[in-house]
């Protein structure tokens, strides 16, 4: 067991807190300032979106929140855990236990079936095969894919693949789901269905959702829109009631 505290407190109200987060990328001789001091608070159970043009730093910010990467400067907190300070191994643990990722291009493992893809986070966590299989079947039912469990990704439509990805994101009962352009590869109708599915999960399970997009329609389906431009927050609607 890691020595640092990796369990989230029970009475946590603020699920994500970014304090003056900077991220610089060094590209040869040029330094790209992807984030230039982002301050953001997301409360437990929120269903919110981060909106901004291409290159504004949305994915970069999401990666900081998701403990995939560390900021050049500033702090990122998940509940009462300061993830920006954690080492590689502990951040992997945080991602496995507390966070679910959904990507624009689904990123399912091509040689595994839908069911096996959903099992991956549980497999990484050492859950027994029978237990994780049961859980994966439930989750696939939840996203409406109970009849597609043994299909491989290349035998599924884009919308179906994204639903598998959503089921996978929920596998270890995360407190936050981070979605990077989840409808970007889908047509409007399918995109709307995916958005509604995420909303339903948020309402029923109380999982915090942060959805990155440059699609205003998708953003408007969420309860709160944070606008990002050139690596800073330029507008925050706050939670619409």
């Amino acid at each position: 067991m890691p020595k640092v505290k990796l369990e989230i407190g029970k009475d946590v109200e603020v699920m994500v807190r970014c304090v003056d987060v900077h991220k610089d990328y060094i590209m040869g001789k040029v330094i790209v300032h992807a984030l230039r001091g982002v301050n953001l608070e997301v409360r437990k159970g929120e269903f919110m979106s981060i909106l901004g043009p291409s290159g504004s730093g949305k994915s970069t910010l999401l990666n900081m929140i998701g403990a995939l990467d560390r900021p050049t400067k500033g702090e990122v907190w998940i509940g009462d855990i300061k993830v920006s300070d954690l080492d590689d191994h502990s951040r992997a643990y945080i991602r496995r236990k507390l966070i679910g990722f959904i990507f624009q291009a689904y990123y399912l493992v091509p040689h595994l079936t839908a069911l096996q893809n959903v099992e991956i986070p549980m497999m990484l966590d050492g859950v027994s095969p029978s237990e994780r299989r049961k859980k994966a079947e439930e989750l696939l039912k939840l996203v409406g894919l109970g009849h597609r469990v043994h299909h491989r990704p290349n035998e599924l439509s884009g919308g179906e693949q994204q639903r598998v990805a959503i089921a996978r994101a929920l596998a270890n009962n995360p407190v936050i789901v981070l979605a990077d352009e989840p409808t970007g590869n889908l047509d409007t109708k399918t995109g709307a269905m995916i958005a509604e599915l995420m909303k339903k999960i948020n309402r029923e399970r109380g999982v915090t959702f942060i959805i990155v997009t440059h699609d205003i329609e998708l953003a408007e389906r969420t309860d709160r829109i944070v606008r990002l431009r050139d690596g800073v927050v330029v507008e925050d609607t706050g939670v619409k009631l």
Binding site: Y93, F103, Y107, L112, Q116, I120
Partner: protein, 409 residues
């Protein structure tokens, strides 16, 4: 993550990339096969050489020859050595170049005068008749009895009962005498200290003396053969004869020295075969490494994804290592069967034959010998090679940054 899950995950991937994976598996299989068959060949050869040394290449034997042409050995020397070292057997031999004539055909040959009963005792394996029967002592006392070597008999078409003319020179004068062939020897392949038995005409040393030597030097002989009771005493006696009895005027050749030289050749041969094994393994290992690096390159996105959903670097390392180990396991199993097949085929085909020429020559026919130990070692080495060569690609995979891996196009 559970151990069986690493193998399960890698196995599902291997199944998806059957074509490439099976080629890599084949590479490992061939490596293990080479290892097994080479071990068997090398063990077989060593055993054959050891056997040859203990029997044909008699390590208890010494040959005494004059070192300088101005020194001549005589039958007195036989007595002199017998008195000082009392060997098991000591016998004089006369050697002279000769021409053998049969039915108008001439062949050069080697006239050898010896006490057949004693020489027979020193090299029982060589004195085996192919045609006719070897003479008993009283027959050998007939002054026209001869035994001929295999090659000479073949060249002249000789068989027992044939009359041959043997021509040689004695102090510059030609001498001709007729002999009756009583036996033809089996091929011996022996050519020790210049005595090519297969090209020889063997007669009683008494008559050889008369034929070859001038009347004034009737007791002159070419060499003395001595049999001692062990390889050690042979070496000791050889030194004693050379240094203490003759003060360096003769050369006493202990065949044990040749045996050691042959042992060295055997070691060299083994080392060479081992080098081949190592090359075969390196090729197999490179195959695994290449396949796994290709796999890592193709699966960068997958690695990024798995890392995003919570895999540690260690998880990634072990996942890819498990894949190499699986390749190693399948390759090793196939390799063991292929190896057994090759060893069986070599055994059936009598492929392992060689003549070793070294002052003398011995002819060796070996059969592969596969020990359980060699089989197990080959399997372990095959598996370990796959794991070791799979380690670098696995490490490279584990070192990818998740964000960079996800952005990779």
């Amino acid at each position: 993550m559970r151990t069986r899950d690493y193998f399960w995950y890698s196995f599902t991937h291997l199944k998806r990339t059957k074509g490439r994976s099976s080629l890599t598996v084949l590479g490992v299989a061939l490596g293990v096969m080479a290892l097994i068959s080479i071990a068997a060949i090398s063990t077989g050869f060593s055993a054959a050489i050891r056997h040859a040394m203990e029997t044909e290449f008699n390590v208890k034997t010494i040959a005494v020859v004059p070192l300088f042409s101005n020194y001549t050995l005589t039958t007195d020397d036989v007595e002199r050595i017998r008195r000082s070292i009392s060997p098991q057997i000591i016998t004089p031999v006369i050697i002279s170049p000769a021409t053998v004539i049969k039915g108008g055909v001439m062949e050069s040959a080697l006239l050898m005068g010896a006490n057949i009963s004693q020489v027979k005792y020193i090299w029982p394996e060589f004195y085996v008749a192919e045609l006719g029967t070897l003479p008993r002592d009283e027959e050998w006392n007939n002054n026209d009895t001869a035994i001929v070597g295999h090659k000479l008999a073949e060249k002249l078409g000789l068989k027992n009962g044939d009359i041959i003319q043997v021509l040689c020179t004695s102090s510059g004068r030609p001498v001709v005498k007729n002999f009756t062939v009583v036996a033809v020897l089996k091929y011996t392949g022996m050519n020790l200290v210049g005595i090519d038995v297969d090209n020889g005409v063997l007669i009683n040393v008494k008559y050889a003396k008369v034929m070859v030597n001038a009347p004034s030097k009737r007791d002159q002989i070419s060499l003395i053969l001595i049999l001692t009771d062990s390889m050690k005493s042979a070496q000791y006696a050889a030194t004693f004869i050379e240094n203490d009895i003759y003060q360096g005027q003769v050369r006493a050749i202990a065949f044990a020295a040749y045996a050691r030289a042959i042992e060295n050749i055997d070691m060299l041969f083994r080392a060479m075969l081992q080098a081949f094994s190592i090359i075969a393994l390196l090729i197999a290992g490179m195959g695994v490494m290449n396949t796994m690096f290709t796999s890592v390159r193709e699966r960068i996105k997958e690695i990024g994804t798995i890392r995003a959903v919570g895999a540690t670097r260690g998880n990634i390392l072990l996942t890819f290592l498990a894949e190499s180990i699986l390749i190693g396991i399948f390759g090793t199993i196939a390799g063991v069967f292929l190896g057994l097949g090759v060893v069986y085929a070599i055994d059936k085909s009598n492929l392992l034959q060689a003549a070793i020429q070294l002052g003398g020559a011995i002819y060796i026919e070996a059969h592969p010998i596969l020990t359980l130990k060699d089989l197990i070692i080959s399997a372990i080495v095959g598996l370990t090679t796959a794991a070791i060569f799979g380690y670098w690609p696995a490490r490279a995979a584990s070192r990818l940054e998740p964000v960079a891996a996800l952005r990779y196009e």
